[in-house]
Symmetry: D2
Subunit: 382 residues, 4 copies
């Protein structure tokens, strides 16, 4: 890509629309980039809301017709922030139109859809990106660095949980509880993240899983009429055990009813020589146990991963211990997208469609094993 600006079309104006808009707004203010992202066009369904949204965030154009926008030769990058069930259709069209594509996670609602997206990406020879934003939490990028430095040695255990609690019995039957729209419940929403993080940190793939799914709250109040109830068709929680290519074993859990855990995206990894622990609720901190220290000094070290001189991404932000938040993970990812589109390397590996397909395969295997009540080999999902 020879030109020095990247025109972006963002599809979606809800939660992810806000997070992505903020990322594109801030990225060139904090990072020195080889290409400049231009907030060219935002696409949404509700025209009134969209107009306000575009004005507020400084999008140069807005449109309710995503097909037209995608075929606009001015657009370089299509950024998909829609509900999951639309990812495939939009991505295929964008790739066909010769655009680079950044897609929200999970890649798709089914392994088949995800596979189609990978095929289209390969055919198009265009770069693709999947918004597994947590890879770009500085503390997690640091965790990967520590593992790559050999400080954990052989990995024995991966223990990953993404615990939330907003899904109690009072929570109405919004689209996230509708399988047709959401694909699954906590599983696709939350397990997708921690499977990606586990793969990112360990450099190992998951080979085999045994899972269970549970819908604790079978009926929920209707949004339009809370006195009536409708049926929830997705899981509230999915747990699974796993084996990894390198010999590690692991457990994964996603739930929306773990009271007291608001955004408890956490992972612990135990190796022969050391261990790591991270919880997003303290996202600036990484716990590291170094078993190579003198024995009387060993313990869990709380590393505040906020040093501009020594921690990933922080050179772009603030002085030491002037902490950052959730939104910065999107800015960091936007920076890496711009770097890659400008021919540079990202700070940590970037998941493309092909990489995200492997996460999808694990998710599908876990659900299948839950249904069959037996272990399932991940590569049997095809």
């Amino acid at each position: 890509m020879a030109k020095s600006t990247i025109n972006i079309a963002l599809i979606g104006q809800k939660f992810m629309g806000k997070a992505h808009s903020n990322a594109w707004l801030k990225v060139a203010k904090f990072f020195d980039l080889p290409v400049e992202p231009i907030m060219h066009t935002v696409v949404g369904r509700n025209k009134e809301e969209l107009k306000t949204f575009a004005a507020r965030w400084g999008w140069q154009n807005h449109s309710t017709d995503w097909k037209k926008v995608i075929s606009d030769p001015a657009i370089d990058l299509v950024d998909i922030g829609t509900p999951n069930n639309l990812h495939e259709t939009i991505a295929l069209a964008a790739l066909k139109a010769g655009k680079a594509v950044a897609c929200e996670k999970p890649l798709a609602n089914t392994f088949q859809a995800a596979k189609n997206m990978v095929t289209a990406a390969k055919k198009s020879h265009k770069p693709t990106f999947v918004w597994f934003n947590y890879r770009r939490v500085p503390a997690l990028a640091l965790a990967r660095q520590i593992i790559n430095e050999g400080r954990l040695g052989k990995i024995y255990h991966v223990r990953a949980q993404y615990l939330q609690d907003w899904g109690g019995p009072e929570t109405p039957l919004v689209w996230r509880f509708n399988k047709k729209l959401a694909g699954s419940g906590a599983h696709g929403d939350l397990n997708a993240h921690i499977v990606d993080i586990a793969r990112f940190l360990t450099n190992q793939e998951i080979t085999e899983v045994s899972g269970m799914a549970e819908t604790f709250i079978k009926e929920r109040p209707l949004p339009e009429n809370p006195k009536k109830k409708g049926k929830s068709t997705v899981d509230d929680a999915v747990l699974f055990l796993a084996r990894f290519t390198g010999g590690a074993i692991g457990s994964f859990e996603a739930t929306r009813v773990a009271t007291g855990n608001k955004n408890g995206n956490q992972i612990e990894i135990n190796g022969e020589k050391g261990s790591l622990y991270f919880n997003f609720e303290q996202m600036n901190e990484l716990m590291f146990y170094d078993a190579s220290l003198p024995q009387h000094l060993q313990g869990w070290t709380n590393i505040l991963a906020t040093s501009p001189g020594s921690h990933p991404y922080f050179y772009a932000w603030w002085p030491d211990a002037h902490i950052i938040g959730y939104e910065h993970t999107f800015v960091n990812m936007a920076a890496d997208i711009c770097k890659m589109l400008g021919g540079k390397k990202p700070e940590v590996p970037m998941p493309d469609f092909e990489d995200a397909l492997k996460t999808q395969q694990v998710l599908d295997a876990a659900l299948l094993s839950a249904a069959k009540k037996t272990w399932i080999k991940v590569n049997s999902i095809k």
Copy 2:
């Protein structure tokens, strides 16, 4: 039992021998008891060591012949602190001789052996006790109280792990890695505790499990000649998923290679109205999340469970926040044994052989499911 003293025979003089001796030494100093425990006789195999041990701890007699001691009419309570593979034989003989029996956990190495012990106990009409000492950590007794007060509501999740790290590749092939002596590895040693704790706290039984077992370190240095290696025949780690009678789902994990976790006996329980978390490494503390508080005040509360006026067992110990340790859990249990032998109620429910059999059944089901790679119903273990 009409008489006001209880003559105790302790079988075992190693780690548990020390823990039990300390408990019998201290219990009547701190607690007001209906019967007084007398440290009558200690039994061991190494005569020289035993003599020193008996003198040090104030045992009135010592013997290398457990059968003779058990048949001594002076003995009221036989306290078994031997390796697991001897539990059955000694317990059966003691019950036959009409003694009350306190037995270390796990009850036995196999479900069949455990069943024999239950049968013998029923036949003898003598009281039995199993040293699941963690039930008597004040913070865990408080956890049960909070659940019984209805403060968690319907329970959704149980998340229990017992993580240790002493079993790395340098650790020699001691008896604990020999299946014939130990029965299993981390599973019987550690999962036994957390299954008991989960049952104790939730008042629910486990109905169905799916597990996996792993021996990461297949060969270990021989104790007598570290340059040579021998084969480990037990698991280093066992994980399993579970379903409970009351609708909760859970995960359990025991391991000896979770670097940085020294005695990480931990459990989190999430209910509709609140949650609890405990880790033995901070054994005086209980974390409680109360979702019934005003929303702007909700959070995890760190309860230092050390108040003589309001926390279990602490009336017997020290002023508030003058914390207690591991050994006190045995003293608390010794106090409850004395109370029960004196016709009083224990402070929290006491596991007898029959109760411990249920824990054993879950452990056996978990191992079977790991071998068969499928879910196993707990009551199919017979």
Copy 3:
């Protein structure tokens, strides 16, 4: 102010220049405001740097002549982000020119200079604001709310520390170690913040102080030639004891050599009925002890102050537990400045020059007491 936009002139383009630019950039994206801030002109001394800075952040104009900018009728608000020794001169000129003024903290290097600024502000009848940004950390705004709700009762203790560690013996002799430019060392930089926070939270004024100052590292490497050393003329640490109008007693400490504390801006307040603790290194968390709860449930509650529905400022940001960072405190303050300029009330009280003068008075009294080695009444500073 009748018009619906506010033209801002920012003086300063270093650390605070970046923090304020980011605040003005983001504020109208996240908050619904009665007036819209316009990034009109940025002023700096280095023309080349300034040009780049202005372009990067989207300032419409830039200039190296602050006097000219201030007299520009288009400007509504002068935002002063320069070193402390320039605050007075610029503020006086801006007020004289009829502008609203937002000034970085501390208000000035001397009480006399600060008094002049207050006098000028009163005379001008223009609104003034001082960037004590920590008042707008949601967790600290929540702390104030909890105190105002009466949940602490009578306050006994205030324990405030601002601990940093960047000032070790290797740190070169930059301007911050030069009394003529910086006024003082850790004292004006850090104690200024915690005195303001203590006053903000307790609604009490400090009446009397006894302090000590220390320069541990008397000579430092010269920035231009690290082999040579020059004399540091400021304190590395200042501690003082204090009495408050409402009967509370307190201690304050600011230091740059508290190894391991990167940005440890912390305060604990103990009242008859409850206590609060905050540390900026975990800025999204507030610890609250509620002594009115049932005794067996009492403990320190870690409130993650990130609920859009129930915690200050969070309605503007992200879903629950999607945490925010240092920069958001400036955005929150920019929002309140815009609200006030639009005739609305700020979310929590805003310090103007007069209010900041009281903080300055305490700081001066503390230094005087350190020099005289005796207690000093705060109102004796005139």
Copy 4:
């Protein structure tokens, strides 16, 4: 002392009587000692209580006549656990009778009384011991070791607080609020401990102090008739700033009204190369910051100071992470007393009367400075 047993006379049967009895009971069970302590005689005022106490704890004899007991030639060591105002009289008599003396802290209620005790000790050539038990918390003994290993470098800051909360307005006017009996309030009770700990850890003496004292609750309910109130004649809180011989500066605080802090005996020490933090409420843990580690790995390390192989005193107790409690600090001290009486060195330095006098001098200087509202040199107290 040639003989291999030590006959102990304990004066006092309340809180400290219980703590000391437990220590003498357990010490020879866990430690290998050069001399064996014999629980020979316990002395108290209430004959009925005393009899029960003696029987419960296994004291061979009991008496209400301390003078007679002290003059008994069978007694080797007099252990004083009475209220502070009796320390001097009993210690002088015991030393005169040629006994070794172990005395509870603080050494006395006044510097003069303490000086008399030192003079008597010197004259008698008998060993003396003061029960500053916190020196023998393994985590604090480890802290001293880390400092002695040079891992902190030059010490800049000492920050010590002993925070309790049992002294609110409902607490009745017990003897601890009577200056004649108690000498002072929180000051002698709590500051005594943290001054000793600061001296113990830093190997520095305090040279100069500036303090403040406060009695928040001037009147309290009478124990015998809670509807009536009487006057409290002691401090509820005392704070002071300090300078140390080695150039460090420090702050100390003792209070009984810091709601939520039950036994918050805490200290932080910041040195050029590292820092330490300890809080008794987590007494098995020591926080250590090592600024010599690679920068990206630096953080506060939570050392669980419970390793039999590498942490002080733990070789005598339990396996790693099987934590100990408050009472163990007394057992550890009893072990060191026995070692010293048997001609061996204690594990960490033991405070004798002369050493404790220095702590007393600091306490007196702090109170004098509070009264005079100026700095006081510690060696001006004579």
